[in-house]
């Protein structure tokens, strides 16, 4: 494409946006709203994921031993476990320690009176692993060792969290998808009106031998421009909003700290811009196909 043609295409696209200022504004806003919702879903999902991973890495594998396991077996068990792939640390809890823990957990509830002497609590190991995905293999390996009674790592909780985030994500993506579809139609309507406004010119262009792409480009650029402006608008809102929320949670709920803005927003921005442009292009393509028979 010649430079001058590029100038022409850009100028016409800009003229198109300005000519239908109100409609363009509505389209830009809708694109922005759609992208903000998309950002909301993505940011929520990414944070849930991060939280789930964090929780899973904190999972403690509890290995209860059979009663009256001889100390030398306990010792060799400890060594074997420590050497397993992925084990970060392993701690032995004897009966007394277990009772102390229970007491502090129940805050010396009178229920414990008399139980102390019996102490039916089992001896156990506490294992931490290096990475979340190592929990299951380590637990399985330990299960088969001599003297091991039961292995418990609360597998269900973490799995449930993952399943929840997955369901949430699918649901919200479907929602955003529907909204995007609506946005595409709105953009296409804007482009259709731009085509209508220029139908005389288009007729003359065809008559004097302008190529189809020469006629199409300004409308494609106009759609892209609407998508880009919408993306820009959404980026302002998303950066501002997420930064504020991250700061707020860091102060108010340090337990639920969000992923730091700079670690997550650049990627999300890229996604939003790409989706915005895609919506714009799809919108114009739809109109071009239906209303510009060339």
């Amino acid at each position: 494409m010649r430079i001058r043609t590029l100038q022409y295409v850009l100028a016409e696209a800009g003229r198109g946006v300005r000519r239908n200022r109100n409609l363009s504004l509505v389209s830009v806003t809708t694109v922005a709203v759609c992208l903000i919702l998309l950002a909301l879903v993505v940011l929520l999902a990414l944070n849930f994921d991060a939280k789930a991973k964090e929780l899973e890495s904190q999972v403690t594998i509890k290995v209860y031993l059979k009663d009256n396991t001889p100390p030398e077996v306990v010792k060799s068990l400890n060594d074997t476990i420590a050497k397993l792939d992925g084990v970060k640390d392993v701690t032995f809890i004897n009966k007394d320690q277990a009772l102390q823990e229970l007491k502090s957990w129940l805050q010396n509830d009178p229920v414990l009176e008399g139980v102390a002497e019996l102490n039916v609590l089992r001896e156990s190991f506490r294992i931490h692993v290096q990475r979340p995905e190592q929990v299951e293999p380590v637990a399985t390996a330990v299960q088969g060792l001599q003297g091991v009674d039961e292995v418990d790592y609360r597998r269900g909780d973490v799995q449930k969290l993952f399943a929840f985030t997955r369901a949430l994500r699918i649901f919200s993506y479907a929602l955003v998808g529907l909204l995007a579809l609506g946005t595409v139609f709105l953009v296409s309507n804007t482009i259709r009106i731009a085509i209508f406004a220029r139908r005389r010119e288009i007729g003359i262009m065809k008559l004097v031998g302008a190529t189809d792409w020469f006629i199409r480009w300004p409308f494609i650029v106009e759609g892209t421009l609407i998508g880009l402006l919408g993306a820009l608008l959404s980026l302002i809102a998303v950066w501002g909003g997420y930064k504020w929320l991250a700061d707020y949670t860091a102060r108010a709920l340090p337990f639920f700290a969000l992923i730091p803005p700079l670690a997550i927003l650049p990627r999300v921005s890229l996604l939003l811009t790409a989706v915005g442009v895609l919506i714009g292009i799809l919108g114009s393509a739809l109109s071009l196909r239906r209303f510009l028979r060339i």
Partner: protein
Amino acid sequence: MIVLQNVTKVYPNRVMALQDVSLRIDKGEFVFLVGPSGAGKSTLTKLIYREEMPTKGQISVVGKNLVKMRPGQVPFLRRNIGVVFQDFRLLHDKTVEENVAFALEVIETPRREIKKRVAAVLELVGLRHKAGAYPLQLSGGEQQRVALARAVVNRPAILIADEPTGNLDPDTSWEIVKLLSEINARGTTVIMATHARNIVNSMRRRVIAMERGRVVRDQEYGVYDDEN
């Protein structure tokens, strides 16, 4: 230059606009296309610049087979054909100069070339002094001259004029026909569809008469009505 072989055109609404038309127009000819409304004159011109496709038969224009032509090639065919209409079809928000330049801009002519050619063609149609005016500030005859300038600024091999004087008074009509004649004298093949009996009769050029989709008379140095 233009060859039609057994061309039939039936529109989707089943109107048969052309029926088995064969004709040949050579380079540099000046042809009047006459006949009552609905005889198929406009359809014939539309087939030449490939606004419409024939239902049956073959058409070749400037050596290109229009039936086999891929849609992507149509713009390049049209750069060889200038077209003017009864209703001028000018852009009202552009000046005379811009209207003419527009035809060159959209086929990506270099800017310097555009300036030169627009000036020359406005000189030809005698509207150099109105270059900055807007179409609605001009008379009908002047507007048609702008349309003519736009049609020939690209120096097409063929000029099609579909009732170019239909909206003009007799004197102004003559100016337009004289201009067409001049353009023809410079080597452009001119095809003019018209109802203007006195113009056809005094020009004494080739006349192709049509009726109900058929060519009923094709006569060198002809007149509007059948002399027999």
